[in-house]
């Protein structure tokens, strides 16, 4: 036989053998499946802010009905509410406190805490997670590592941080310098208490988006503007708007509809957006702005002092990588900073 042909056959055999090596584990996996379950669908904890709090409460709930509880009961450790200086270093299990607790010393607890009442500390505390049936009031420089839930108000003292989840059934108050990630409550108050403000009542001019440069009617209620767009002061527009460039909304102007811009958005003082405010870059709201719908940015949202987001009856969502909130801002619903949120002193 020709030697070239032999070499060719050898080469083909070698290549085939190399290819077959990959088929051996494939064959085994086919014949004896070891990983053939359907992919698990994302669990609820990613969308439900109270997921961990609810799960924890469902475990605690059984113990609340017991007549006398003290010491360790396998899953939980009980601490007396009357102890104003409990020894937290001894804690090795999740904690249940059966009544309100007012601490006079710094607290460090690396286990979830349940308080069947109010919980009050003086500051510089470090908690893993906490669920209370009443209020939570943490002093300055405190930190909640995982989550906190309160049936009533949550107050975080200045320079505190809650890097994961914070939710309340009524109200959350974050003093200046607080860092947060995901906050949810019917009312969320940032920084200073809200001050009275007299709304300027300039006459507003009813206008149409079609008057703006580069406007194209996309549908009956939607206008697209190619390039940058600047909306003058004291105007009212009805309908939704898409801007392919940068958008500046003038002071005191109102847009009764949804607004989207692909570049930055700046909303002037005392302006109002009646729907959603969506941007692929930064959103800056100046002082006393009101936005009723969701505010979504892919980078940074800066909310100016005394602005309002959402309304009490219809809570909404503020979401961005980073969120900077000025003093006196009120949000209704969820504020979610995927990287970091901070309350500014001024």
């Amino acid at each position: 036989m020709n030697s070239n042909l032999i070499h060719l056959i050898e080469f083909i055999a070698f290549c085939s053998a190399l290819m077959l090596i990959a088929f051996r584990p494939a064959w085994r996996e086919w014949q004896f499946p070891s990983d053939c379950e359907p992919l698990p669908i994302s669990p609820d904890y990613s969308i439900d802010i109270d997921y961990f709090a609810t799960s924890f409460y469902s475990k605690v709930e059984n113990f609340l009905t017991k007549e006398s509880v003290s010491g360790n009961q396998q899953d939980f450790q009980f601490i007396s509410a009357s102890a104003s200086k409990p020894d937290w270093s001894d804690i090795t299990l999740p904690v249940i406190v059966m009544n309100s607790m007012y601490l006079k010393e710094v607290m460090h607890c690396q286990f979830p805490v349940f308080v069947n009442g109010d919980f009050h500390t003086i500051g510089a505390d470090n908690l893993k997670s906490i669920y209370t049936q009443g209020k939570i009031s943490l002093g300055p420089y405190s930190r909640i590592d995982d989550w906190a839930y309160a049936r009533e108000t949550i107050i975080l003292g200045y320079e505190s941080s809650a890097p994961r989840r914070l939710s309340s059934a009524t109200c959350i108050y974050l003093e200046h310098g607080c860092h947060f990630e995901r906050v949810n409550a019917p009312v969320i108050s940032f920084g200073l208490r809200v001050q009275n403000y007299t709304v300027q009542s300039n006459a507003l001019i009813e206008s149409s988006f079609s008057e703006l440069k580069g406007a194209v009617q996309q549908s009956s209620s939607l206008t697209l503007i190619r390039g940058d767009c600047e909306i003058p002061n004291d105007r009212v527009y009805r309908g939704s708007l898409i801007v392919t460039g940068r958008l500046i909304v003038g002071d005191r102007s109102r847009i009764i509809g949804d607004v989207k811009a692909r570049k930055n958005i700046v909303v002037g003082v005392n302006a109002l957006i009646g729907g959603a405010l969506i941007c692929e870059k930064n959103i800056t709201l100046k002082e006393y702005v009101c936005v009723k719908g969701p505010i979504i940015s892919e980078v940074l949202i800066t909310i100016g002092a005394h602005s309002t987001v959402g309304i009490h009856e219809l809570p909404t969502t503020v979401s961005a990588e980073r969120i900077i909130v000025g003093p006196g801002v009120i949000a209704h619903g969820t504020v979610w900073a995927r990287e970091r949120g901070v309350t500014c002193p001024s």
Partner: protein
Amino acid sequence: MSLNSVSVGNYLSGKWRAGIGVIVVMLICEGIFALERALSNNIDLQHAAVSSMAIVLLAIVVLMIIYACRHMLFTINRLFGRQRHPYIDIDDAQWPQITVFIAAHNEEKVIAGCIEALINSNYPITRLKIVPVNDRSTDQTRSIIDRYVERYPDRITPFHRISGKAGKAAALKDALAFVEGDIVIIFDADYVPGCGLIKQLVAPFFDPEVGAVMGRVVPINVCSNLLTRMLDLERSGGYQVDQQARMNLKLVPQYGGTVGGVRLSAVEAVGGWHENVLAEDTDITYRLLFNGWKTIYTNRTECYEEVPEEWLIRIKQVKRWSKGHNQVLFRYWFQFLTSPYLSLAERIDGMLLLMVFVMPPLLLLGWILALALYFMNASYVVTNVIPIFALMAYGTLGNFAAFFEIVIAVLLDGNRRRLRLLPFILLGFFISLFSISSSLYSLVMDFIFKRELVWEKTVRYRKELSK
């Protein structure tokens, strides 16, 4: 009834089709021999023919390399790029009135599961209208739907369709008369949406620029056989890497017709719902796109579906997708390329996506050309571009880039051992290659003979009957 579950019918009988096929093959062979005879007597002509063939081959190779680079880019983006999920965080909002369509034709095995899941959704009850679109079912589908209507009269409005043009697109078009609100979410009857799924699908519509939204489809019958396991790998690659990377890079995520929704005012603004198309989802995606609307893909909005368990069904499915996709390509490529609303990146990606079902026949043609050039002793032409051919062989002929994409997708999904099945994907690749090539031929024949569209039911595999 599933995605693209319409096929061209009114076929000539099997014997006729086989006869025409044999005649075509004979003509091609005869043509090649005639060409060879002519060329052997004319050196200049031979040189010109060989050069032309080499140029075509080179063009195919370049296209294949572009696709390989695209796969690589997407995979690397999923690994190291910034991931975009801009609307997933919207939890509290004034949720709009929506209508959910459940497309159903003889779905007695599965329809109850879908309705039940939608009833349990956390979307505000007063703003959610469920419309089962019962398209001429002959089994128990109607009575099952009616039982649910009795239980939830305020929430479910049935549409029992008994006449009209066949097909999902036509049925959904008729069902538009029942719509409340501007947003329509569409499920096939075999889907079981999770509690929070509807909110996640509706959230992107707060962006006024969004015309359509697509969620992720996850095979549920993975463990049935080798085919379902391979399809599971393919789906992972397609959604986890391909679609999400397109979303990240602001390219062209595709609306898939189910586990997704559309904004009706947008669809109306671009010419309404077309029923004379094989792939109404691709048709809508592209019409929205070149008219200035966006499609959003939400990777974390997942819903289970059944995948084909039989090769014949799978081949039919691939052929239907291919035919529908190519139909959209031939209809809209010019409007797409000249649209003023698109960025250059969107234009390029959109065209590559549109051409995805043209590539297998081109690859086949490339192989034939390469063989022909070899037998015609054309090495003097081909040698100049051997490095490119080598790159092609490494990068695309074995579909390495697409394999890499699947590997990364499966790892992102958190699975490792199922990756061992990867070599079998080669089998699926060859089957798709020939199925798609034959569907392109069929599409041309459909065009020539002006064949009519007929609707085909997709087989369901779930065992239990709805209660």
